[in-house]
């Protein structure tokens, strides 16, 4: 808030000076502005649902401290009961406890994997967009190659050299998913690069890095966030597919996809609880993220 020279003599109280709590106010104001701008029933539904699933996975074991690994040999394949609210699997393990354990792995992989993918995607895409034409070309060709790569090959390669736990899966899946995002980032950056205000900033001597960070990134942030939500959903689906192929979380831990797969292998015996609970959980997680993304997208497009 600057005052013009003519105002200066009018009233001293109009001169800008730090007010206590000013920055907090600015912060909450812009947050409120953002929230107001992007608020949409779908956004809130999605977010709420996802937070619920996170609470189930992380808060759940605190409220229900049962071991997911304990085997009860006399209680194999039991339907839900008071003792086993989600039933037991064919080794007599408490499915509710396993679902919480699995939820942690599944959601971790989804969220953190997406985070890694976005970070890598932004870096690569920005570099490609801001670099000279020939370098951009080469980088995009490399990207094409990476996009055409069957992820299976990479997964098996990694499975052979490192044990597959939540952490390694986060890294591997993150590293497999960034090319798609990189392409989006690069295309968006190219589009925004020619905008007037960016050209103006250049005139004023702004460095490439500054432009990238301040203007371009901020402009494409909404698009990125939307894509990020879809990516989380895709990663959760990918993890369940990997579990089906035997490349998921190592036993005796599991992910929801792994639990679903265990249930499906036994489907003909009819343990509906082994299928319904993990299936619904995966479904809710993906729906939550999709709905969240759709809500954000709707607001972005001005609906």
């Amino acid at each position: 808030m600057s005052s013009s020279p003519t105002d200066m003599n009018v009233n001293n109280s109009l001169v800008a000076r730090p007010i206590p709590g000013m920055f907090t106010r600015l912060w909450t104001d812009s947050l409120r502005h953002w929230v107001g701008q992007y608020s949409h029933p779908m956004t809130w539904t999605g977010l709420g649902l996802f937070v619920f699933l996170m609470l189930f996975s992380w808060l759940g074991p605190v409220l229900y401290p049962v071991s997911p690994l304990a085997i009860h040999a006399n209680h194999l394949l039991l339907a839900p009961s008071w003792q086993f609210p989600f039933g037991t699997d064919n080794l007599g393990r408490n499915l509710l406890a396993r679902m919480m354990d699995g939820g942690q792995a599944t959601l971790e992989v989804g969220l953190l994997g997406a985070l890694i993918a976005i970070s890598l995607g932004i870096i690569y895409g920005m570099i490609a967009a801001m670099s000279p034409r020939w370098l951009d070309k080469v980088l995009m060709r490399l990207l094409d190659a990476l996009l055409a790569l069957p992820a299976i090959v990479l997964m098996i390669f990694f499975a052979a050299i490192i044990p597959l736990n939540a952490l390694s899966l986060i890294l591997v899946l993150g590293c497999l998913s960034w090319p798609g995002l990189a392409r989006i980032v690069r295309n968006e950056a190219l589009a925004y690069k020619e905008k007037d205000y960016v050209l103006a900033a250049r005139q004023f001597g702004a460095s490439t890095f500054y432009i990238a960070r301040t203007h371009l990134l901020r402009s494409m942030l909404p698009i990125l966030i939307v894509n990020a939500t879809f990516m989380v959903a895709d990663l959760i689906l990918a993890l369940s597919g990997l579990s089906f192929l035997g490349l998921g979380i190592q036993p005796p831990h599991a992910s929801w996809g792994g639990l679903l797969n265990d249930g499906l292998q036994l489907v003909i015996i009819g343990p509906w609880w082994m299928i319904v609970f993990p299936g619904v959980a995966i479904f809710l997680a993906i729906v939550a993220m999709n709905v969240l993304g759709q809500g954000l997208l709707a607001r972005l497009e001005g609906r």
Partner: protein, 547 residues
């Protein structure tokens, strides 16, 4: 998802055998003709595909199954591990007084399907091919081949003689060594190089000359292989069905679905799906096995991180900590058998009296396990895990895909006595590479199985420096006992060895589950057709058409 469980863990069984006593021909109701659709590995292992039919070049148990139908063995071993000379190409074996010379006389009635008689030329061809292939042939360096063979001489079209370098146990040599020399059609295969044979591994035309009850009709990669009756079969027990089809399926669920919808009429019911057997309303259940092999928990004795396995007390403690009955109950729904040694118990023809007693009594004794561990100096730490000199008793267990329940159960039982087991699942080829590659010494423990030979010595597996001894286990006393089996006749040496083995537990032997074979109600003779040796004899099956 491909389940190649026991397939990868089995040695090639070079033997076939069945009880030809209560023969189906006695029953007047047998109908001829018909087609049976089945899967590879019935009564043996989870289904997979066949992808090669040349017995000189394949090592997969599924391929061997088909090959055994096409080529009649030199020595046919029945389900009690006795030689049946009616079904063997050999008519008689004369053993020299010093147990060094084996003169084999061939029956004269066996003919190839192109009319040429089966003669020693065919056996000689096989012998030379095996020597030429060397380590590329899976049976190399076991059963005394080639180590104990001094010479192979053809005496005439129906007689040949093998002389060994030293005096051997005749039963062992006949069952494990001589039996490798199946007659293969020299007149048909001689002109091909090994490379050409490799290029024709699935070409039915290459395998058109056979002497067994079936021949290969067609092969479709990824789908099925079909075999038809060999009309020129010159031996007893001619097949009743006219066609046999092996469909290639790759998961438990798909086998079940196929059985239910009738797409497959004879197959294994996967263990975990046993509770659903009543849903297969068109099929009858035959429980067979346990099969001729043993499951085990194996250690890498040369890995300093798990040095505790070198202690006999620790290994014995592990043996006593495992509740085999519980494993049988959970994994096999109560259908299985205890096992503590490397000699399988079904049939019990080779079991020593001590082994029989132990099997009856059982070895589950967690109190004893705890005591032994304490004696060995490993005491429970504050977290319940055994420790000594700052080291914890823990190891990483490599498990093949889809064999998760057993190790999980095992880990729980060992945890109760204070041993921590970390599991790591990986595909078979990776597992073997980590275990076998001489450069890779880091593996700690594996959960696998061996199939046994017809005369169960375990030589190449547990001998110091044995070709298959990736455990780096070396016990000179055991070596001496194993050697004695090979040179003395009678079963005493085998009894002494197996008792010592059970006591020493170089690998911790685990229980064996039975197999659930489902057959359509109009298929008969199933129990004749499947043996504990894991062999499949479809020539004893027949289909009734009126049901």
């Amino acid at each position: 998802m491909n389940l190649k469980r026991l397939k990868e863990a089995l040695l090639v069984l070079s033997l076939v055998g069945t009880g030809a006593v209560a023969h189906a021909a006695d029953s007047p109701n047998i109908q001829n003709g018909g087609t049976i659709v089945t899967v590879p590995g019935v009564g043996l292992a989870p289904p997979s595909s066949m992808n090669g039919f040349n017995p000189l070049l394949t090592s997969s148990a599924y391929d061997t199954e088909a090959e055994n139908l096409m080529y009649q063995p030199l020595i046919w071993v029945n389900r009690d591990f006795k030689i049946n000379f009616n079904l063997s190409v050999a008519k008689k074996i004369v053993v020299g007084p010093k147990h060094r010379s084996f003169t084999v006389y061939l029956s004269r009635h066996w003919k190839w399907s192109d009319g040429v008689p089966v003669t020693t030329a065919d056996v000689a061809y096989t012998y030379h091919m095996l020597m030429k292939l060397g380590p590329l042939w899976p049976g190399w360096d076991s059963g005394g081949v080639p180590g104990d063979i001094q010479s192979f001489t053809v005496l005439g079209p129906y007689a040949f003689r093998v002389v060994t370098t030293r005096s051997v146990n005749p039963t062992w040599f006949e069952l494990s060594g001589l039996s490798d020399f199946y007659p293969y059609p020299a007149q048909s295969w001689q002109r091909y190089t090994v490379k050409q044979m490799n290029d024709n591994m699935t070409n039915p035309k290459f395998f058109s000359v056979v002497d067994g009850p079936f021949r290969l009709e067609s092969f479709h990669a990824g789908r099925y292989a079909s075999m038809v009756q060999n009309l020129a079969y010159s031996g007893p027990d001619k097949p009743h069905i006219s066609r046999l089809i092996f469909r290639f399926l790759n998961s438990n669920a798909s086998v079940f679905f196929a059985l239910k919808s009738g797409t497959v009429q004879l197959g294994n019911l996967p263990d975990p799906l046993y509770p659903a057997r009543k849903q297969l309303t068109n099929d009858r259940l035959t429980i067979s096995g346990p099969n001729w092999g043993f499951n085990y928990l194996g250690f890498n004795f040369s890995n300093p991180k798990i040095a505790f396995v070198n202690s006999l007390l620790v290994r014995q403690a592990m043996m006593h900590a495992i509740n085999q009955d519980l494993m049988i109950k959970v994994l096999g729904f109560g259908h299985g058998a205890r096992a503590y040694g490397l000699v399988p118990g079904n049939p019990p023809v080779y079991l020593s009296p001590e082994a029989k007693a132990l099997l009856k009594h059982g070895a589950y004794d967690p109190a004893l396990a705890n005591k032994l561990l304490n004696e060995a100096g490993w005491h429970r730490g504050p977290d319940g895990i055994r420790e000594k000199d700052g080291h914890k008793m823990a190891f990483t267990l490599y498990i093949p895909p889809s064999m998760i329940r057993g190790p999980t159960l095992l880990a729980t039982m060992l945890a109760k006595v204070g041993i921590v087991v970390r599991m790591r699942e990986m595909p078979f080829n990776e597992l073997y590479e980590k275990m076998i590659d001489p450069h890779s010494k880091n593996w700690q423990a594996v959960y696998l199985a061996w199939s046994q030979t017809a005369y169960p010595t375990g030589g190449s597996i547990f001998k110091c420096g044995g070709v298959q001894n990736s455990y780096h286990y070396c016990n000179k006393e055991m070596d001496a006992m194993m050697d004695r089996i090979r040179i003395t006749s009678g079963l005493d040496a085998l009894y002494k060895f197996q008792n010592y083995f059970t006591d020493q537990q170089p690998v911790i032997v685990l229980p064996n589950m039975k197999l659930f074979v489902m057959a359509a109600k109009n298929i008969h003779g199933v129990s004749h057709a499947i043996t504990p040796g894991g062999n499949f004899y479809p020539q004893f099956l027949w289909v009734s058409h009126d049901q």
